[in-house]
């Protein structure tokens, strides 16, 4: 179908324009087209699907751990495999699922919400996806070859150093992290530049949807947090491969240096995952109460404040290392303070719901579930900010309970709601509400049955990362309960998959705007055409689709070449146009070169020498002026 939601009321001239757009932005068919695509929607969708596949793999790992721990001295998996599994679970969920899935939601919906046709750097975007995919594949291939990392997702030295972890397992971890960092940084740059320079005319910064603000904050946090882990993981790799001694106390290195570097990334990471979820919740709250979220400036300020404070709490992961008490108090203060912006946002949502007219759809149920679960995780978060209390529960199942409430409750629950909410936009079909309700309640109950008892396991002395425990400890009952809860979550996830597959085939057609949303993604057809909008929307308020007069559109962009509008940073006034690339294979080639370099480096420093020419060739091809573009440029010059 040509065009978008406006297609019905087009003049013949406009029909021509839409036909030309269809031709210009056409997706290449087949496998070749799949490899060469530079459109943000299929790439972000791949990102989402890949991230959910990793979510399932991480979930299978969790299920295996819960099966092993369901009774004392169980022998389902031994220590060697268990240690790999819990490391894979953490690494998968943090690096291959949670951050990428959030970035991917941004890469799909930010351009739609700000009314542009693609992300700012389409080739780079494709490169980011391929690097991420190769990193994930590399980790899992290694795992199935019994070379999965086994020192935890945090890989503390000296355990992860060359002396205590010979072999390649930790190298696999360090390089996987490097892959995902590149992908994350690429995603962050895409989001920031797209948000700053490609907003629809009239969408000033203070008219941006809260979702877009959340993604902007998410991207900036990645930009400041990821370089630390990139540095740290490369230092670890060098300690292991070329015998530097950054972390070796025997040679003047320092084991705690790793912890500082890791957590200076690792704590912001939690908020990198959590802040986009705040954006999902704001979108859903406003749509399902049919009123704008109350306190827009407070909401924006809270997200920005969360990002700043998020960088000032890393030491609360290190209270047990015996740092000076005064410095610990500062981190207690900042860790407690970060509860304030979260509180403000929850209060603003409750106020919005109070005077709104809530519709109890499945996404809205997930929003309510999110608030309940996240509050529990928030409370225990304030508790572990206390040094004496933390020293009791640190590295126990209490903390496992805490951060699963925060990450599953605070991020995965809104994400599942967001899938129900935006699935119609992506696929053009609705998901089943009936199955969705079943899924929600199983998930909500399962989540609590699994993780609530873990608080008490922690108090009763059960440390994290143990592959088994003695019957005499008395931990069997609570562990069995937790494992039963995990089974409920597993059933809920299966229902979700069934719902997705069935709705893809037989879901009710959605139409452009099934929920009556207020943001621009609902102004185009579902699924959106490759150029997203036939006519660029012009924005006059924060809720462009709820404006009484309907939408206005801008014309003037060329339809015969891939052109997007560049607007000014603050006011989104039209500034210039930007020519976008045709489909190209070079991002894929460059990613292959990157993967070859990183993987070879594990075995020999000659990896640099082998990889450099490949990457040089790939990036040369990437930047090579295309003949077609050139000719078009001349035609323009001639015409003008």
């Amino acid at each position: 179908m040509p065009g978008d939601a406006l297609a019905g009321r087009l003049t013949p001239a406009e029909h021509d324009a839409v036909r030309r757009l269809d031709q210009t932005w056409r997706q290449e068919p087949g496998f070749r087209g799949w490899l060469r695509s530079v459109d943000h929607k299929p790439i972000a969708l791949r990102f989402l699907v890949t991230a959910f596949v990793f979510f399932l793999l991480g979930g299978l790992e969790a299920a295996t751990m819960r099966a092993q721990l369901s009774r004392p001295e169980n022998t389902l998996v031994g220590p060697d495999l268990y240690n790999q599994i819990f490391t894979m679970h953490g690494t998968t969920m943090m690096f291959l699922f949670a951050v990428p899935v959030m970035t991917a939601m941004g890469l799909y919906f930010v351009p739609l919400m700000i009314g542009t046709r693609n992300v700012a750097f389409p080739k780079l975007n494709a490169y980011g996806y391929w690097v991420y995919l190769f990193g994930g594949l590399f980790l899992y291939v290694s795992f199935f070859l019994n070379t999965g990392p086994d020192t935890g997702w945090f890989s503390y030295v000296p355990l992860a150093g060359p002396e205590f972890s010979p072999g390649k397992r930790v190298d696999v971890w360090a390089q996987t992290v490097t892959f995902t960092e590149i992908a994350s940084l690429v995603g962050a740059v895409e989001l920031i530049v797209t948000i700053f320079k490609n907003r629809a005319p009239g969408m000033t910064l203070n008219r941006m949807p809260l979702f877009v603000w959340a993604m902007l904050v998410h991207a900036f946090m990645i930009l400041f947090a990821m370089p630390w882990i990139a540095t740290a993981s490369q230092m670890l790799a060098m300690d292991r491969l070329v015998a530097t001694h950054y972390f070796n106390p025997a040679e003047g290195g320092d084991a705690l240096l790793w912890q500082h570097l890791f957590w200076f990334f690792g704590h912001p990471e939690v908020y990198i995952i959590f802040v986009p979820a705040l954006g999902f919740v704001s979108s859903m709250v406003s749509t399902f109460t049919r009123r704008p979220v109350f306190g827009y400036p407070a909401m924006v300020f809270s997200m920005v404040a969360t990002a700043f404070l998020g960088f000032g709490l890393w030491v609360h992961h290190m209270f047990a290392t015996g740092l000076p008490a005064l410095s610990e108090s500062f981190f207690t203060g900042s860790s407690i303070m970060i509860a304030i912006p979260s509180g403000v946002q929850i209060f603003c949502w409750i106020a919005t719901i109070w005077y709104g007219r809530p519709r109890f759809t499945v996404p809205f149920l997930f929003v309510l579930g999110f608030v309940v679960l996240f509050i529990i995780g928030g409370f225990t978060g304030v508790m572990v900010a206390s040094v004496p209390f933390d020293l009791q529960v640190h590295d126990t199942y209490f903390v496992v309970a805490h951060f699963h409430y925060v990450l599953i409750g605070g991020a995965v629950t809104p994400l599942l709601g967001a899938v129900y909410y935006w699935f119609p936009k992506i696929t053009g079909r609705m998901m089943s509400e009936r199955l969705g309700r079943w899924q929600f309640w199983l998930f909500f109950v399962g989540m609590n049955v699994t993780f609530f008892p873990m608080h008490w396991l922690g108090f009763r002395g059960m440390p994290r990362r143990v592959y088994t425990y003695l019957a005499e400890t008395g931990w069997g009952g609570l562990n069995l309960t937790a494992s039963a809860g995990a089974a409920l979550i597993a059933i809920s996830v299966v229902l979700f998959l069934i719902n997705v597959v069935r709705s893809l085939r037989a879901g009710a057609p959605a139409g452009p705007d099934p929920w009556g949303g207020d943001t621009l993604e609902w102004a185009t057809s579902s699924p959106p055409p490759p150029y997203s909008f036939a006519f660029l929307p012009v924005v006059g308020s924060r809720e462009p689709l709820w404006e009484p007069g309907g939408m206005t559109v801008a014309t003037g962009l060329r339809t015969d070449v891939r052109e997007v509008l560049v607007t000014t940073l603050l006011d989104a006034a039209p500034d210039s146009t930007h020519r976008h690339p045709q489909p190209t294979i070079w991002p894929f080639v460059a990613a292959v070169g990157t993967a070859v370099t990183f993987i070879t480096l594990i075995f020999t420093p000659w990896g640099v020498v082998i990889g450099f020419p490949m990457l040089f060739a790939a990036f040369t091809g990437w930047a090579w002026p295309r003949g077609d573009d050139h000719r078009e440029q001349l035609m323009v010059d001639h015409a003008s």
């Binding site: 935890g152 509860a339 206390s386 004496p388």
Partner: protein, 318 residues
Amino acid sequence: MIQLPEAGHSALVPAGPQARSVDRLWDGMYGTSIVVFVLVVGFLLYAALRRRPSDGVPIEGQVSRMLTAVVIATGLTIAVLFCFLVLDISVGSALSRTPSGATRIEVTGHQWWWEVKYPGARPGDQVITANEIHLPVGRPVTIELRSEDVIHSFWPPSLTGKRDLIPGKVTTVSFEADRPGVYRGQCAEYCGHQHAKMAFLVVAEPADRFGAWLARQRDTAVTPADTLARRGRDVFVSTTCAMCHAIEGTPAGSHVGPDLTHLMSRHTIAAGTLPNTRGWRAGWVADPQSIKPGTKMPPSDLSAGDLQAVLAYLETLR
């Protein structure tokens, strides 16, 4: 023989002032959290489910009411958090004071067991044992923590919170047991393969009994009279056993593994993993890898007769 279920192993069943103050802190925070949780979720559900009057409050009135409500809720949040902060720091500073006149004990972490030293006034007075810490009730102890390999974390929940053992550093933790008893602890920092089976016991006993225990631990092993045990001693000092284990009073003097001079005085073997009974000792010496896969103790290649002799000898190490 003390059964493990009797051993205190819970932060919520404190047996000393340090753990008790954290337990009280938890009670306060837990109570506050329940109240706040009920309030917030109550407001949320009421906001979502309340019956909406058809005439409704005009928009202007709604905004000012929402603003008031959010400001009050935020103010209350800040007040509660500030109370938490004051409480945290006051409890924390009380706990971080190092007591004077404390008994000093040195604990060194190894993959995957605990070496325990009681320094003496004279060189011969030093006591070395493993996986079991005795201390006097009602007197503060300060434990100096070191690591021989990777990072471990010392944690007897009934007595005190954690302190990491970090290679290249010395950390300390001070606490006191005010009820006699046996308390269990377990390594709390992931330290590799057998992190799960790196436990220890803390035996808190009246000062006189502690003194007597310490005096006995200073004794060296005597050569057994029994011929089987004597053969066991010869096997022990002449085979791989002596390459890792020390028995004071014999040529075996290596401290790679636990000191066995007073093995029979301990409740457990294999770092709190097995009860210290003849059957488990036999199983452990013969095939430690099937009990604790990856442990640094290699399987023994002793003949059945030699094994029996070594076991008989170990039983004399009281």
